[in-house]
Symmetry: C2
Subunit: 210 residues, 2 copies
DNA sequence: TGTACATCAGTGAACGCGCGTTCACTGATGTAC
DNA sequence: TGTACATCAGTGAACGCGCGTTCACTGATGTAC
């Protein structure tokens, strides 16, 4: 029988983990402050007083660092959505989830763009279906839709099952978030009202015929 | 009284216009074939057998060229949506418009991304409100919503006027298109069905209470 | 019709920059006897 | 406890690349007399 390796962490490994974390933190800060375009090995190294070459002790290259901070971004997005009060009526809850998604995008626009303007690491529809609340933003959305259907508030329709409904909800909030941080950035309009209206409209579409 | 300068075009101006067009065509092709990342002054010049320096006779710099082909992209998107049969019932028509938007994005993904991942030249909400069918994709969408409301099929609600409804519709199709060409690129799922369901769901939300 | 000149379109080479990555190296830390 | 050695974290300099833009220039085209 083997020991789980989780417990035995040597001082060396602790140090390495800390440095890895420092690298990612620096990368995160650069993206937040100056956008994804400013993220370079040199910039990261400078920020933590390393030479660029030193980073290769901890990561295989730039892509791996980007991948790691995208994963962190996913967790952050999850945190935004998981903080929403689950006690509310399902329609309100779903709307609040959308709002949280948009809030993440507007508060961390560069982060959001980094995560969502390049292709994600592949994952099948089945895998997406499996992931429930714990861990991913999509899972939270999925659980909400499931709950709405179970409560009889939302209604499955032909060609519009729970998974597809979730995809649609995601696309709705993603479109609102994306337009806002890219094409409509700086537009003098009342996004808050617009988003609320759009989310309410989407919710009406989900409702079961009375 | 002055003559309109539109008519008198010298041979010189004609030549210049043709070269300008050739530059933009080359830029368009590069973006289509290799993505926005591959668009460089050198690449454009090479494709039309100029030296990079020569391009500065026709454009002030790279940004101006990008701006010009984004404008062209807007016209192309307009063409997609304007080709949709306006004779159908409004709900079908709106759905078909969404479909056309998504088709543009999937058939010209690099173009679409170039247009929609950087901020657009600013324009006020009033200007957007003014632009009707002739010219812009947003205008077409706006006209459709207006028609739906006029026919009593769609319903204006508190905080959800025609302009806001159009914004919501745009965000819906934009989210579907965007997810598809970025984060979900290559996912093994049935986008066609998903998009149809999402658009139908959005339409239901617009409907007037019976 | 011929000639002198001005305008024009376009070039070649360079400037200065930043990028990801590699590699031979060094000095410090840890280890074995 | 001291010494010899191996491992390790990190460096400095360079490689090779591509970028947008500038500038002095040239050869062709057009114009005026």
């Amino acid at each position: 029988m083997e020991f789980t390796s989780v417990e035995n962490i040597s001082p060396k490994e602790r140090r390495q983990a800390r440095t890895r974390e420092a690298i990612l933190e620096a990368a995160r800060e650069i993206v937040s402050e100056a956008g994804a375009g400013a993220l370079s090995m040199r910039a990261i190294a400078q920020r933590i007083d390393y030479s660029p070459a030193g980073l290769y002790e901890y990561f295989d290259g730039k892509d791996e660092i980007i991948g790691a901070i995208c994963a962190e971004g996913g967790q952050q997005l999850f945190a935004y959505m998981n903080a929403v009060d689950k006690g509310q009526p399902i329609a309100d809850y779903l709307q609040a989830l959308g709002h949280a998604y948009i809030r993440f995008a507007t508060e961390q626009p560069d982060y959001f763009l980094l995560m969502f303007t390049s292709p994600a690491p592949l994952q099948s529809a089945e895998e997406m279906a499996v992931q429930s609340g714990e861990g991913s933003a999509f899972g939270i959305l999925l659980d909400a839709i499931r709950r709405g259907v179970a409560e009889g508030v939302f209604q499955q329709r032909a060609g519009f099952d729970v998974l597809t409904m979730t995809y649609a909800a995601w696309a709705m909030v993603h479109g609102l978030a994306m337009l806002r941080v890219t094409h409509l950035q700086g537009y003098p309009m009342d996004f808050e009202t617009g988003d609320l209206g759009a989310l309410a409209n989407f919710g009406r579409g989900l409702m079961a015929a009375h």
